[in-house]
Amino acid sequence: MKPDRIVDFIYDEVAALDEMRWEDWLALFHEEGRYWMPLEWKQQDPIMQPSLMYEDRLLLTVRVERLAGERTFSQKPKSRCHHLLERPRVLSLGEDDGVCKARTSFIYTETRGDQLERYSGWVSHHLVDVDGALKIKLKRIDLINFDAPFGNLQLFI
């Protein structure tokens, strides 16, 4: 495994989000992949400590299909998003356990009508190789202000 392969994957992943290719994005997740947004600093447990999101593919699919729904009024007009990434720090090439790990600093922007909201933090990827393709086992988003009250955050950081 070369570090560049992990870095390229992460850039390609957010490109799918920024271009609103939701189905392509979902396909990047492993069957048992999880999307996690903690509600505590250096949180250890996604289930027994409160999280903002901890979702499997079924729940992420619900979100994606909701975005396209005829009666999804909070998406009229549709939101758009933009990920600005610092170069990912590759933390593990998975030599021991097959799990590649990277941590990436980001600024994320999401629109809603004329409004524009901005979030900052770090995204951690745990990736595994399945039949020659990298898949997301875990995508974890640590916001710098996870404890602040936000308005609607409807797309995906």
Binding site: I47, M48, L52, S74, N152
Partner: protein
């Protein structure tokens, strides 16, 4: 010019029962009067004793705009104090919670206070001798809120000196809090984590109204719960059991008939709840070991009665909602006429299996978080209403659904579950507590 200050009749005229005037949601003077009158005249939830386990533990809270500091003193008692230094008015504690040790110390001039609020020390003490300071209110330290009631660890306070007693104010409505506590085999709840916080650009009463609005879920949440149901129908052949997530989402799509039958109960002073005989919380999977522990604690009959009471949302007027079967308390904190902070707390049932806490945390992030698709649906409606109410096309909000002309104002009744009676009930109480001390103060001034 003030239209409403000191004018109890003008305020009462905003509430017709079958309709309320938009000024209750959009008028800044009305909002200011809510802060000055409504909130101080009512018993407001300010925290839970489990957040103050040890001596020196404190939490901060608010009633209306007034900052409070609640602390555990070395005598074991909880004190509700005004969070304001008697010197220059600086807030003593700025964090949501913490432990202050033996005393509070003002960061500006180092005045220090024991954790019951009394003064411990003031620098350069001699400079106060002979100044009359010792007979001034400032010498008493952090002012105490006099009317405090800790009901089974739930801390409530009333700022106004005069008003209804705690027991008269809540009456039988306390049965929802009782039921939530009784769901612990040890009869004890605890808050062990921060709440989920969610900012709403709308009036706080829109959130309160929505808690007992049983005609919106199948409409507004078609996008979220409806999609969850349709995705599940398509995907369920891949699963061996219904995931907890689907069990939590799916009941939101229950039809009108379900809610009609489930009923709404109203109580005096604006309290009330949905889900009298059944609710969206009734069909969750049993959690293994839980019933065994409940039966051991209460006996089979009482345990069944406790768990069989599946009330949906209970409003404790003015601004909290309690969800007994899921152990969630939502605090609708008014910040401005069109700005509300919602803090949703989960209680852990002491002595119950972890699975219950896991389910409550899941429910909270599914429904009450800024990242919640159900929350997205609701907030969109509130914010559209806040904008729509600017229209001069109609100055009134309609509450006719199942209205009866001779509807009693302070009653204990069960009505059809799609009635807007509880919203009317809240406004009857709103009118009462907005003007409670207004008539007296006008008379005193005359």
């Amino acid at each position: 010019m003030d239209r409403y200050r000191g004018n109890a009749k003008a305020i009462r005229d905003l509430v017709k029962g079958y309709a309320v005037h938009r000024d209750t949601y959009v008028d800044k003077e009305i909002f200011d009067l809510e802060m000055e009158s409504l909130f101080p005249n009512t018993w407001v939830y300010v925290g839970h004793a489990s957040q103050l386990k040890n001596t020196g533990d404190f939490i901060t809270s608010k009633i209306g705009h007034q900052p409070l500091l609640i602390s555990r003193h070395r005598d074991g008692e909880i004190y509700v104090l005004h969070n304001r230094c008697p010197h220059k008015g600086v807030k003593i504690a700025s964090e949501a919670c913490g432990n202050t040790g033996k005393f509070f110390r003002c960061p500006y001039h180092a005045w220090s206070f024991k954790t019951d609020g009394s003064i411990l020390a003031i620098p350069l003490k001699k400079g106060y001798e002979g100044t009359g300071f010792d007979t001034d209110a400032a010498s008493e330290g952090l002012a105490r809120v006099r009317n405090v009631k800790i009901y089974r660890d739930f801390i409530f306070a009333r700022l106004a000196d005069n008003g209804l007693s705690f027991e008269d104010y809540f009456g039988e409505s306390l049965s929802t809090i009782d039921n939530m506590i009784d769901r612990s085999p040890e009869g004890k709840l605890e808050i062990i984590a921060a709440p989920i916080r969610y900012m709403h650009q709308c009036n706080w009463k829109m959130l309160v109204d929505n808690q007992t609005d049983t005609c919106h879920p199948m409409v507004a949440h078609e996008s979220s719960a409806g999609t969850a149901v349709s995705v599940w129908e398509r995907e369920k052949h891949k699963f061996t059991e219904t995931p907890m997530a689907v069990q939590l989402y799916a009941p939101f799509m229950s039809p009108y008939e379900f809610y009609e039958g489930a009923g709404i109960r109203v109580w005096p002073n604006g309290h009330g709840h949905t889900g009298v005989s059944g609710s969206i919380h009734q069909d969750y999977d049993d959690v293994s070991e839980y019933m065994t522990r409940m039966e051991a604690a209460y006996g089979p009959e009482r345990a069944r009665a406790i768990l069989g009471d599946v009330r949906h949302n209970t409003i404790y007027f003015p601004n909290i909602m309690v969800k007994g079967p899921v152990q969630i308390l939502r605090n609708f904190i008014p910040l401005a006429v069109d700005k509300t902070l919602v803090e949703s707390f989960v209680f852990r049932l002491v002595g119950a299996p972890d699975k219950l806490y896991e389910r409550s945390l899941m429910y909270n992030r599914f429904i009450n978080a800024p990242t919640s698709i159900v929350g997205h649906d609701d907030l969109e409606m509130y914010e559209r209403a806040q904008e729509g109410l600017r229209s001069d096309g109609n100055e009134w909000i309609d509450l006719h659904r199942l209205y009866e002309a001779d509807e009693p104002r302070d009653a204990n009744e069960v009505v059809n579950g799609t009635s807007e009676r509880q919203m009317r009930n809240q406004f009857y109480a709103w009118s009462k507590f907005m003007t409670l001390n207004m008539d007296q103060s006008v008379e005193a001034a005359e």
